[in-house]
């Protein structure tokens, strides 16, 4: 095989020993000149490729579409939350991205590797960490032996550092582990080779609240250090707290793709007002208020307009107390599920048919 001595990015020679089609620091080598050293390598438009590009990805089991033309990108250095109820198709997307199952149509690129190209995907995995929803460890081995096993395949330069944060009982066989300890061992193996991309399926399942907080903090630190994190969750507060962007999947289809902040802005503010005396409803209510609930002198509603306008409106009344806050993603979630289906029983049927998909 011919190796080329260096790669030129932004007028600087940065990498040596590259070859065509290789992905180098998220750039893909597409052409090269061999006329005179130092050899120049042309990179794809000088553009950094997103760590994950999903394009019309579809997986069918008979008539059932576990993933139906799912399309989105995950940007470098973000925490992306993939949100949906159990059985919506989150795990299917993740397993497609890892090449465990084959797409029926469409494709995706993970760290530049097409998931339909087994060889390229296998190579890319050296730089990917994966925490599955169900952790199938070799039960008779101890935690240490399991980590040794994975270390032989992809390295463990950050093992000790991670074991300071997450402390499974390493001397004991995994069959004696609690689900929280298994999850911690899973987190250590997912990050110990210092991957550029980490894919986590329900990462906090089985962790106690303290460990969940520790994981959330750790993920933010990793994100700030440049690692891209793709996590699936049905826990809305978790996604709300740590994710930069969120994709909501419902019955195999991507229902929304938003910045968490936009999602919160677009869905308005939760407002709670207590007045000194009850007030006439028609006088208080404006067009920007929805879901208004009045109990005596206390009024609760979702405000979809500008907060300044709301404040200007409120000062006309004798306000005893007021609370304006972001809505729970839970409410937004319901909003998406309610809208998309069109009918009231849509969410229920959606979840039922998805449960069969999860059984695959």
């Amino acid at each position: 095989m011919t190796y080329y001595t260096c790669i030129k990015i932004d007028e600087e020679y940065l990498f040596s020993n590259v070859r065509p089609n290789q992905v180098v620091d998220s750039y893909i080598v597409i052409d090269y000149m061999t006329s005179a050293p130092p050899f120049e390598v042309v990179i794809a438009g000088g553009q950094r490729m997103p760590p994950i590009e999903i394009d019309d990805l579809t997986k069918r089991y008979g008539d059932l579409a576990a993933n139906d033309a799912v399309t989105f990108d995950i940007e470098s250095g973000e925490i992306f939350g993939y949100l949906g109820p159990n059985g919506a198709g989150k795990t299917t997307t993740i397993r497609l991205l890892l090449g465990l199952i084959k797409p029926t149509a469409g494709t995706a690129h993970v760290l530049g590797a097409n998931i339909r190209n087994r060889r390229a995907l296998t190579e890319a995995k050296a730089n990917i960490g994966y925490l599955p929803d169900t952790l199938g460890f070799e039960e008779r081995l101890t935690g240490n032996q399991i980590l040794d096993y994975f270390a032989r395949m992809r390295g463990d330069e950050r093992r000790e550092e991670l074991l300071d944060l997450f402390r499974p009982p390493l001397e004991k066989p995994v069959e004696t582990y609690s689900s929280g300890n298994k999850r911690m061992l899973g987190i250590v193996q997912a990050f110990m080779h210092d991957p550029d991309l980490v894919i986590m399926d329900e990462p906090t399942a089985g962790l106690d609240p303290l460990k969940q907080d520790r994981l959330h903090q750790f993920l933010e630190t990793e994100r700030n250090a440049g690692t891209t994190i793709f996590l699936s969750s049905h826990v809305l507060s978790e996604v709300q707290r740590i994710c930069d962007r969120v994709g909501i999947i419902r019955a195999g289809k991507l229902a929304a793709l938003e910045n968490v902040e936009n999602l919160l802005t677009r869905s308005g503010k939760d407002v709670w007002v207590r007045l000194d005396d009850p007030v006439e409803d028609a006088r208080f209510r404006t067009d920007d208020m929805i879901d208004v609930e009045v109990t005596d002198a206390t009024i609760q509603f979702t405000y979809t307009g500008d907060v300044k306008t709301l404040l200007a409106h409120l000062v006309q009344f004798e306000v005893a107390d007021v609370d304006i806050g972001d809505p729970q993603l839970d409410d937004i979630f319901k909003h998406y599920y309610g809208d998309e289906g069109g009918t009231e029983n849509a969410p229920a049927t959606g979840i039922e048919e998805d449960t069969t998909a999860e059984a695959e």
């Binding site: 890892l98 087994r118 995995k125 960490g129 994966y130 169900t134 952790l135 199938g136 096993y149 032989r152």
Partner: protein
């Protein structure tokens, strides 16, 4: 990239040692019986119908070679060890997929081909432990009761059984990549190995039906011929190696194409 090979090898140690102990106990039993029944063996043989000897390929039962071939190799080695290998082979893939171990294994930069090959390569442990262990037990056991068996014949009876056992293992492996449950893969593989052995034995009873056993792996491994007549069928061994490679190829191709 030998992490999987190491792990698989390690997982095979315990059962291999247990099987050697079983063979040691069986051999002790038979070797202690041999001197007392050596004289009466003709009378004993008359009590059995002829097809019994044809079925197991038994001959020259009055010699230590014939006796060992019949008592230890005809049944315990060919059938039980064959079934053990098919059982292990059947557990290599299906169990890992169902238990979600395969998800974690394949999250490493390792190809599916490599996973299959390393798992099969891990069978070196039972192959070496059993073949060396049982060969030594049989040779020493014969010496202890004052008999002598040609060490070359013992070596060959084990060496030529390696391709046979590998074919049994890959029958299990194919079941393991095709079927979803380890339990059904194991049941299928060990029944298949047993039925094929039976078919080989029964078909030899009547020359007209001898062709029926041509697909049986045991047709290409004749322990009695090796021990009693010192005939070493190298070409048959080559056929078995070929069958092993074909089955391994089929299993690998199926595994690389299927959903996990």
């Amino acid at each position: 990239m030998t992490a999987i090979l190491r792990l698989e090898s390690r997982k095979r140690i315990r059962s291999s040692v247990v099987l050697v102990v079983v063979f040691a106990l069986l051999s002790a039993l038979y070797f202690s019986m041999f001197p007392s029944i050596e004289e009466d063996i003709e009378a004993l043989m008359e009590g059995f119908p002829d097809f019994f000897f044809d079925l197991f390929g038994i001959e020259a039962l009055h010699t230590i070679e014939g006796f060992i071939a019949a008592e230890i190799y005809s049944f315990f080695w060919v059938v039980l060890v064959g079934i053990y290998f098919s059982y292990v082979g059947a557990g290599l893939i299906a169990g890992d997929i169902r238990g979600r171990k395969m998800d974690l294994t394949l999250s490493n930069p390792v190809s599916r081909e490599s996973v299959v090959l390393q798992k099969v390569a891990g069978l070196w442990v039972p192959l070496v432990v059993l073949n060396v262990g049982v060969a030594v037990i049989v040779y020493v056991g014969a010496l202890v009761i004052g008999e002598h068996i040609n060490p070359v014949a013992i070596t060959m009876v084990h060496l030529l059984s390696v391709p046979y056992l590998l074919v049994c293992a890959t029958i299990g492996l194919v079941a393991s990549v095709v079927l979803d449950r380890a339990r059904s893969a194991r049941a299928t593989a060990l029944s298949l190995v047993f039925v094929l052995w039976l078919l080989d034995g029964v078909s030899q009873l009547d020359p007209e039906f001898e062709w029926a056993g041509v697909l049986s792996p045991s047709r290409y491994y004749d322990e009695t011929a090796i021990l009693v007549r010192e005939e070493y069928a190298y070409f048959d061994a080559v056929i078995l190696v070929g069958a092993f490679l074909v089955l391994l190829g089929v299993a690998t191709v199926v595994f690389t194409r299927r959903d996990i």
